[in-house]
Symmetry: C2
Subunit: 496 residues, 2 copies
């Protein structure tokens, strides 16, 4: 057997275990009965350990060493060796007993966070957060970095991205976004939403989500829609990409946009070339690129006037009580801008400010420029400064997100990058398909999906995000696309 | 680490992979989207191979050898070593390449059977069945046996049972059953079922099944009910025992009894002592004992007058259109005896004759006393002789069951043993709880469940079936309990 074949078989083995793990996780968050959770955690722990052992085993190291020296590999194989090799070296850099201590501390930290959030008691969580930061710094040391330990953590979520590049994206964006929001809220005309203040039965909301996913081109023969507490998308293989969503009886749009958001993630995974299955490349290019797809369908498509032109009659079929509500009213109601305390409830204009705040704080925490004890205070100060609203307690402030409790430093920026990428990619789509708005207004979403499949989805993880963005749009990531999109859309909407 | 500890860790590893496999199978038969099946088959193949490798590895062999020599083991550990050791030796006896050839042939055979059944073309299936029989004979040779190769196959499903013991159960049963059925159908008064000829919406049937499972004591915090094509029960751990059922709009009782049947299986698994988890003992004592639990709840309980005394008002709540139908009418309609062509649709009186026919044919096939080519003809002859009905085509005859196509010779008898065991165990329950009928009539099913937990469920696979039956009832398996149960019940019902 050639080294390449042996290498691919090894990856298949990892891939099949990861497929099993994906199903175990999906079930855990949808259908697993209460008393099954303890055993499930043990089963997941066991399989995760098996995957980890296969991902750092010496055999794989030998394959990689040999293949990294070969210059006759195909584009895909070269990319696989790059991606798998990088992960191999990162995993190998961590002493197993260190990782085990981290896993135990993380589990304690997550429990402490849950309790702290429920009681809004930051003090209870503080020592755990300090421990997570300490672990993360040491991870960064093990991984290695040039200038900033935060870069080593960022690499996990956005390969090739650095702190200084992130700052270069942030600064111009913030300098325009903050005054624009001020103008919008001061002089703009706020949309009416009163007509949505009613009860929408869950089964009909579900029907609506099924119809919008179908219209988007989501393949139900290769997926399904279920409900959960925190919506997610998960893939057990190219023929099984599952969406979950959440419905609230008195909030029609929240469930609909959640489905479109997850649908955007799912279309990406359904579009990855089948030949990349179990090759280490059968996932999105990065967390940020993945988020660009979910945000594009949720916001650029779902919150556009064209979309509501197409979708209003469908909505009217499912909810006849809204049949007389004009298209424009839905468009307006879907685009209310409101500085708020909670990230996951933020509109697309203020959302990035929530992320910048988190990014700046976590980058300083990792570099020891601020202390955990000062965090609640610094959080409030930053909220006041950027969004003009201040949480009354830590549960609605620094304790709202799970990420830090699980040691996921470097994750937050991908949410913002997703927004920036989505605007830049969407501008390119509109350049290449000038009649896109008309297509959307007629419910012909297949043109958009076809374009995304061809230019983004099929490549999986073959290219790094920056490389991919340049291939797609001819330019490196540039925040001005997002700012232009926001300014144009909301100036018109708010009659500035 | 002591050998015992190392041995237990090894079993835990197997158990955790089997838990994953159970979920992969459950999902495959409930929620997996169509295009996910190819990948899923590969994932299941991979994990099955891993389990198999762990089950025959030399390390395990060494543990077993050492532990088999120790005389200070607990009851559970001794049983675990017995059960795991037996499986180890059986697995080891099969050359890996032989097993692989069997797996490939079986997959082809199952496909050929599906096609043959759809077209009622036995000829198409014949060479595959011949191949499956040939493989099974060779399995028997590898496993080893004293008198009859069929014994070696039976061992897989009913440990400790032999062909001659089976015959000793069959003969007296048949000699009484056949004339009794003749009398019943000739002179008895057939119950009326016309009042059930209507449409019963699936969602309300589901509601009814949920209520009956709850009444039986099935723990929904450690399980769930879903629908599928061929109902089954599956366990991923002591806290997760799932039931599936099937509803047909124009058949109220079929879905209800399917749920009770699977519920009976599930109560068994939910009742296995948690300490047996992942020990090789965390399943039923045998296929026959497992079936005794499903048949007891389905037939002894579900088809009794006491049960309908309790259940008629519940049914009337869910289906108000049946509120005025008297208890006795349901009792009668649930107990129609009708010789029929299809095993899975057979009533409890004629059911065993379907099994005897299959057992006798498959035992002769394995011993080469009949040929596959003669099978359709022999099937028809046996149906005529025992049940008095003859299929018009092979799809409703010899091709109706999947078992033979998958090489599962020795499986069928467990269905009959389940019936015999259930009657014998139920007679013992009634002896020890004389007021059982009144309990059931009041919906107090917890007494019955408590008794079964104490005497049957908690032991899992600690005892072999014969040993367990003797512990429970003081006697070895005896078909006269079943015959008495049938004679008493149906003489009264059919006014003989």
């Amino acid at each position: 057997m050639s080294t390449l074949t042996a290498y691919k078989e090894h990856l298949q083995e990892i891939g099949k275990l990861q497929s099993s793990l994906a199903l175990l996780h999906w079930d855990q968050r949808t259908y697993l009965p209460k008393k099954g959770h303890d055993s499930r955690a043990e089963v997941i722990g066991k399989l995760s350990k098996m995957v980890f052992e296969l991902a750092i085993c010496d055999e794989l190291g030998r394959y990689l060493k040999e293949l990294e020296g070969q210059d006759d590999l195909s584009l895909e194989d070269r990319a696989s060796v790059r991606v798998v090799g990088k992960a191999y070296r990162r995993h190998k850099a961590i002493p197993p007993d260190f990782y085990e201590r981290f896993a135990i501390a993380r589990s304690r930290s997550e429990t402490a966070w849950e309790h702290a959030k429920a009681t809004s008691g930051f003090k209870h969580f503080q020592p755990h957060l300090e421990e997570m930061i300490d672990f993360s710094r040491r991870f960064a040391d093990y991984y290695g970095y040039e200038k900033n330990p935060y870069d080593a953590l960022l690499e996990e979520y956005e390969p090739g991205m650095t702190t200084s590049e992130l700052n270069a994206l942030n600064e111009p964006l913030r300098s325009k976004l903050v005054p624009f929001i001020k103008r919008l809220l001061g002089k703009g005309k706020r949309p009416q939403t009163g007509f949505l203040k009613r009860t929408f039965p869950i089964d009909r909301q579900r029907e609506l989500s099924l119809r919008v996913l179908k219209a988007m081109g989501y393949d139900f023969a290769a997926g399904r829609l279920d409900t959960t507490v925190h919506p997610f998308t998960i893939t057990t293989g190219p023929g099984d990409v599952r969406v979950t969503t959440r419905f609230t009886e008195n909030d029609l749009l929240s469930g609909l946009f959640s489905s479109m958001h997850e649908g955007g993630h799912a279309l990406y995974d359904q579009g990855i070339a089948p030949k990349l299955r179990w090759s280490g490349l059968d996932e999105g290019a990065s967390y940020g690129i993945h988020e660009s797809q979910s945000r594009m369908w949720e916001n650029m498509v779902g919150r556009s006037l064209s979309f509501w032109t197409f979708f209003q009659p469908i909505l009217a079929e499912v909810f006849p009580e809204l049949a007389k509500t004009p298209i424009e009213a839905f468009y307006q109601a879907a685009n209310v801008v409101e500085p708020s305390l909670i990230r996951v409830e933020a509109d697309e204009v203020t959302y990035n400010l929530h992320i910048m705040l988190r990014f700046e704080l976590e980058e300083k925490l990792i570099n020891g420029r601020i202390s955990v004890a000062d965090l609640p205070h610094l959080w409030q100060e930053a909220m006041e400064r950027t969004l003009g609203v201040v949480p009354e307690d830590d549960a609605h402030g620094v304790l709202q997100d799970v990420h830090w409790s699980a040691g996921m430093f470097g994750y937050f920026p991908s949410y913002m990058l997703g927004n920036l990428y989505s605007a830049q990619i969407f501008a390119q789509v509109k350049k290449e398909i000038p009649e896109l708005n008309e297509h959307i207004a007629h419910g012909e979403l297949a043109n958009l999906l076809g374009w995304l499949r061809e230019k983004v989805h099929r490549f999986g993880k073959i290219y790094e995000p920056k490389e991919l963005m340049t291939l797609i749009t001819g330019e490196e990531p540039d925040p001005s696309y997002f700012m232009r999109y926001i300014t144009n859309k909301y100036s018109q909407l708010y009659q500035l």
